[in-house]
């Protein structure tokens, strides 16, 4: 199967079975085009993080094939900075300042020192941490840590940003601000974003497409195209309709009997 035009990620009949016998993904098919914002929405245990990690080359499919930019993800991370990953925890190195944390990917790739510093500072400015270059992670709030983590991901100028429930641990206010800022970055940098979440509102607010998944085994149950202009209004009637639609498919994918659990 040849790559479709503009296709950046493709899952082709992907199965993932862990050593423990847990089936994390089963017959997973999805194609993602350049510049899309795709959310993976589903209950815990539906394999959404597993799928994301495979795109980053941090796990291999048991069956089927995952391709990124038409190549094996492992080859992509070996030869380029095209993929960046943002984890649920900010994952900053506590012994490095914010600036040094953001410099880490550039340092590991052996890029020019002066240039990389200038660029890192400009990225930190973009995420609103310009005044905290010399601060240590422990001096930052949860939201600021996540900003630094996003800055680190952007520092290597990736073509694709993978985010694994990055805002799940933050309070609602911080989360909404970061969501807005993330959309700004997405527009400005023209990246493709793959975003794992279990929050329906978050998925509808951010994504151009939502891949709703079901659990045990992890399957793709529906894909919802969110046809709303950005920036989106959270109290708009159409927004609510999409939230309902996503909630319904989520509910459907989980099976009603599980609600009692």
């Amino acid at each position: 199967m040849g790559a479709l035009p503009n296709e950046v990620v493709s899952f082709q009949g992907v199965d993932k079975v862990y050593n423990t016998g847990t089936v994390a993904l089963s017959q997973f098919d999805l194609s993602i085009k350049e510049g899309e914002f795709v959310s993976f929405l589903g209950p815990s245990g539906c394999g959404k993080s597993t799928a994301l990690r495979m795109v980053a080359g941090l796990g291999e499919a048991t069956e089927g094939k995952v391709e990124v930019f038409g190549q094996n993800p492992k080859a992509v991370i070996k030869h380029s900075n095209d993929i960046a990953f943002v984890f649920q925890e900010a994952n900053l190195l506590p012994w490095r300042t914010v600036l040094d944390n953001v410099l880490l990917p550039l340092e590991l790739r052996g890029l020019d020192k002066v240039k990389r510093k200038e660029f890192a500072i400009s990225v930190l400015e973009m995420v609103g941490l310009k005044d905290y270059l010399k601060a240590y992670p422990r001096q930052l709030s949860g939201g600021m840590k996540m900003r630094a983590s996003i800055a680190r991901a952007l520092a290597a100028k990736p073509k694709m940003l993978l985010m694994d429930e990055p805002f799940a641990a933050l309070d609602e206010m911080t989360r909404q601000t970061l969501q807005m800022d993330l959309l700004d970055i997405w527009k400005r940098e023209n990246t493709t974003i793959l975003f794992v979440t279990h929050n329906v509102y978050e998925a509808v607010y951010l994504s151009s497409r939502i891949a709703v998944m079901s659990a045990r085994p992890g399957r793709l149950s529906t894909v919802i195209e969110v046809d709303l202009p950005y920036p989106r209004d959270r109290v708009n009637r159409k927004f609510t309709e999409y939230v309902d639609k996503a909630s319904q498919s989520l509910e459907h994918s989980m099976g009603r009997k599980e609600w009692g659990e």
């Binding site: 941090l58 005044d131 992670p137």
Partner: protein
Amino acid sequence: MTVQTAATKNNTIITESAQRAKGTKTGRRKGKLIGPMIAFVVFMGIWQLVPTILGIKPFILPKPTDVLNAAIQDWDLLWQAIQITMTESVIGFILSAVLGIGVSILLASSKIVEISLYPYAVILQTIPVVAIAPIVVIWFGSGFNSIVMIAFLIGFFPVVSNTLMGLNSVDKNMGDLFTLYHASKWQTMWKLRIPAAMPYIMSGLKVSCTLAIVGAITGEYIAGIGGGKGGLGYAITVAAVQLKTSYLFACAISGAIFGISFYLLVSLFSRFMLSSWHESAMKVEK
């Protein structure tokens, strides 16, 4: 703009709580100082009074004043013994620190070697080094070299097991991050595993610095002086034989004071190394 305000607010909160913490801390610190000081004076008083009242002979239990007198009288001898023990334990400690950390890094850099040897590194820590000390004397001869060797051996294993544990304590996500940027094995070692292991290494060093002194003094018991001048351990044996109990106490107390100072010095170094990040080294306590 929103970020700015949020940040400033946050900042003020941090300073406020820091100030509050400071306030209570000075109060608590006063209590922390006075309590032990009173306990010390009371203890010394009892120690001074009991032998006098019960008429215990100084060679059985010397009074604090006897010990002090003995220390002043034989200060030249005592100071020389302290210096020798200090040299032996410091060299032993530095050897165990450098070799311990180095060996651990080499072990940890190969998955296979590490998996095969790690359990032994943990078990080796429990070897009673004192029990094998006579072999060290057979191999290295009596005197200084053997004593340093024993001080080194006794402090070596805690450093190894702590460092190895630290090098393997790296958070999985951090490891993934380094994989994602295709970091080489040595980049991961220098930029992630060693810094992450720092708190473990430091606690290993703290254990090993006190053990090095124990090693040096027991080493002196076993290895003798070998023609050179004796340290505290040797002085203690001699004092015991001659029933110079006051001088024996003076030697033991000097050893303790040296031990505490050495430990404090290493703690200070560890605090400095971890100052930028680790909670245990942070000044503001919860």
